[in-house]
């Protein structure tokens, strides 16, 4: 009896998927032509893209870079392409880009705003990227100063500075490249000196930046910083003698008294005795994109802590505190920023003691900070509301007091949850800095109109707008990408 059952003894080899499912064709079929409607939509969008790009690309790239005025640009365009339409005249950017960036800031002092921007980046790195090592941060800092020293006019003093900074850069750079983290840890264990914490520079920066930008003597900046030192000292040593609450009040009061009453006299006395300083720059010389960054950074930096306090106040059980915070937040959020800027430009001096006349940029900074703080408070409140009650109860059960619980348990989680909201508030406030052009400050948009008022650039629009849009796009887009990176990095798998 023969065995007729069929048993396969070998497997067929695996086959490639059909050609229409893989590679470019498969991708096209899945993503662009999955159905009739999709196919039609794809063709239509291709037409739309072609239409837009065929207008924009020649305009951007078939352009004139070196025309001294619009008429000159047009002559070159007629000579090259036979028509003046459809070609950009980047001559205006070529000629005025420094002004668009710096406003009327004295051109020989451009190094100072650049240095403060670079230092800003250095000051922010330990906050933004916590994996950056101490050596890296101090290397960046010394490098920034070294570059500035190189750019400075040469004198004996500057040569000494250059040599010093070059040496320091080399030393830290050498350590950075050659020493691994483990070796360094061993050295430190054997008694080598640790580099100071980079956050120290971050703490100094807010007082350094105004001095770099506005110039003048250094004493007001130092005296302002000293107010915080006084507050800290009272807070630190007052505890031994007073209750927690009294110490806190005393610390705030001491700092406020120092700032309002004493620091003015002290700083003027010190400046007359020891005039250390750099050339002063008037506020009306500030402008351009620099002004947007300045206002944005100050508003962003100051509004986060104020926003946290306001959010906590809004969540508080203390009726009066809660009522004040709610009133403030709702009022600020209910009115447009432009009315607050009117207050800054027209009214703020009316509310100050007679004879006070403080700087317009400072006034704008105050109003913008208050504005963004109200929005920040709402974002953070959202984060606080998202925390489960158990977190608060856990903090209570550990015996932490209110501030400890906030600092160690509540705030880190609440802030993490509200990162997207915080960053979009940042982006919003940065974009809103353009509104100062309405109250007569020369930011980028104000400068664009000023350039247009010049007879040689009368009638130029698109190039200026494109340049301004490009500047803002770069900054805002990178901020939003950074927030996405941060969200991914802090992702713990549960909220």
């Amino acid at each position: 009896m023969s065995d007729v059952s069929f048993v396969r003894t070998e497997m067929l080899p695996e086959q490639d998927p059909p050609g229409s499912e893989v590679g470019v064709i498969g991708w096209l079929r899945h993503n662009l032509f999955s159905s009739w409607i999709n196919g039609i939509l794809t063709v239509l969008s291709l037409f739309a893209i072609y239409f837009v790009l065929s207008g924009i690309l020649p305009w951007v790239f078939q352009s004139v870079w070196n025309g001294g005025s619009l008429t000159e640009c047009r002559e070159i365009m007629t000579a090259t392409w036979g028509q003046t339409h459809g070609h950009a005249c980047w001559g205006v950017i070529n000629e005025r880009w420094l002004q668009l960036l710096f406003g009327f800031y004295p051109s020989d002092l451009y190094g100072r705003p650049i240095l403060s921007l670079v230092l800003l980046l250095v000051a922010m790195t330990p906050i933004l990227f916590n994996m950056i090592s101490r050596r890296m941060n101090w290397f960046l800092l010394v490098l920034a100063f070294f570059v500035t020293a190189v750019l400075m006019d040469a004198s004996i003093f500057v040569w000494i500075l250059r040599a010093g900074f070059a040496g320091a850069t080399l030393v830290i750079g050498y350590q950075l490249v050659t020493l691994s983290g483990a070796d360094r840890a061993e050295q430190i264990a054997q008694g080598a000196k640790r580099l100071p914490n980079p956050l120290m520079f971050t703490a100094i920066y807010p007082f350094l930046m105004p001095w770099l930008m506005w110039g003048g003597t250094i004493w007001p900046a130092i005296c302002t910083a000293f107010g915080f030192v006084i507050g800290y000292l009272v807070l630190r040593f007052g505890r031994a003698y007073m209750s927690e609450l009294l110490t806190m009040i005393a610390a705030v009061a001491a700092a406020v008294i120092w700032w309002l009453v004493l620091s003015g006299y002290v700083s003027s006395a010190l400046s007359s005795v020891l005039p250390i300083g750099i050339e002063a720059v008037q506020s009306r010389q500030f402008g351009g994109f620099m002004l947007a960054i300045l206002l944005g950074v100050v508003a962003i930096g100051c509004s986060l802590p104020i926003g946290v306090v306001l959010a906590l106040g809004r969540q508080s059980d203390l009726v009066v505190v809660k009522f004040l915070c709610v009133g403030f937040i709702e009022f600020i959020r209910g009115v447009p920023l432009i009315t607050l800027l009117f207050v800054a430009s027209l009214l703020l001096n009316i509310f100050m003691p007679p004879g006070t006349n403080f700087d317009i940029i400072l006034r704008v900074m105050i109003m913008m900070t208050l504005f963004s703080a109200a929005y920040m408070a709402e974002v953070i409140r959202g984060g606080l509301a998202a925390l489960p009650r158990g977190q608060y109860e856990g903090a209570d059960s550990l015996g932490l007091d209110y501030w400890q619980a906030q600092r160690l348990i509540i705030m880190p989680q609440a802030l993490k949850v509200s990162i997207p909201g915080i960053v979009s508030t940042f982006i919003g406030i940065f974009k809103d800095t353009t509104l100062v052009s309405i109250i007569g400050l020369f930011d980028v948009i104000g400068l664009a109109s000023a350039i247009r008022a010049d007879t040689s650039w009368n009638g130029i629009y698109w190039e200026l707008f494109a340049f301004i849009a490009f500047l803002f796009f770069i900054v805002c887009f990178s901020m939003s990408r950074y927030s996405m990176y941060l969200e991914r990095k802090l992702q713990t798998g549960h909220r």
Binding site: N31, L41, T339, F342, W462
Partner: protein, 422 residues
Amino acid sequence: MTILTDPPKESFRLSMLLYDTRYRSATIQAIAMIAFMLLAAWLINNAITNLNTLGKPMSFGFLGDTAGYDINQRLLDYDSQDSHLRAALIGLLNTLVVAVLGCITATIVGVFVGVMRLSNNWLIARIMTVYVETFRNVPVLLWIILAMAILIETLPMPRAFKGDTPTATMDLFNTVAVTNRGVYIPEPLFSRSLGDIHFLGDMALRFDVSMDLIAFLVVLGLSIFGMRKVIARANTIQEETGDRPKTWHVLLGLLFGPSIVLMIVLGFHLGYPELKGFNFRGGIHMRNSLIALWLALSLYTAAFIAEIVRAGILAISTGQSEAASALGLRPNRTMRLVILPQALRVIIPPMISNYLNLTKNSSLAIAVGYMDITGTLGGITMNQTGRELEGVMLLMLVYLAISLSISGLMNWYNNSVKLVER
């Protein structure tokens, strides 16, 4: 035998204000209150002193003075002899016009873009991403000025429509004229009009109400009432017999029929814009400033709304759409009946704040010369009278009132669509 006694009554000591949690909160609140009062008193005192020094103590009398300036885009009648108060009212109406137009357009564009960003067509999703990122990352003020520049620079002058061989022609069967002075669209006219009713006589807040409009609203209201009746009847029949009677033609007739009859009775016709002399006459003239502001604000806000819509749709678990598919619903019905109603709950709260933002951003009208309330009360009136404190205060109050009413209205709507849980 033990005697129950109350625990010894602790006498109140002053230090308990600081150390006892029962009293400490009261202490903190009292201190906060006192600090706030001191600050407010200091500010008000300074303001009074300064204003007296300047010789203009606070008064709102300037609102009754003759304004002396013109407002070209307006809803109510106004001339330069009217008071500042009326100018502010006209400005307020202009703000509301832009806000309402902008919110509607932004919602339509935003929902469209948001849904399209999730399209499985790769190209369309990318185009929408580019749109959203471009508009979100550039200041709205720049968009407004840019829109204004585009309108002024690229559109033909009214002169171009003149002559035997005009270089520009009117659009949409010769009814709409798009010029660099604005867009002229046909206006509705009635040959047997019922006339207007004047309210408040000669006062600054006077306003006219067109009887024709009221008649239309009444007829429309009656139509909707009738449609509801028809639908209710269809529902009862469906519940009793299981068959739903065809109602769409009745509904359509009820919706349009009475209105069309009314239009014929009133003698409805369109007034077309015509070129007379150097400019167009007749029709409704929408100025460039209005259009630029409307366009820029809606496109800008639409980018934010698109993100909200996208996040809202993504927040609905895929199980919902899978269940809908299992029931045999087609994709567009799944979207309309299953996804969107649920996504709406996530979408509405941030949408409210975007409407508020659009309304507040409309104050940037001052940059293109559109006379909204910031341009009238906060602009020319304040410059002419020098009443900065009063002007800014009124301006803030008006915006605060608008914001609070919008958020109140939308929160009420939010509550009505909210998921009812235990």
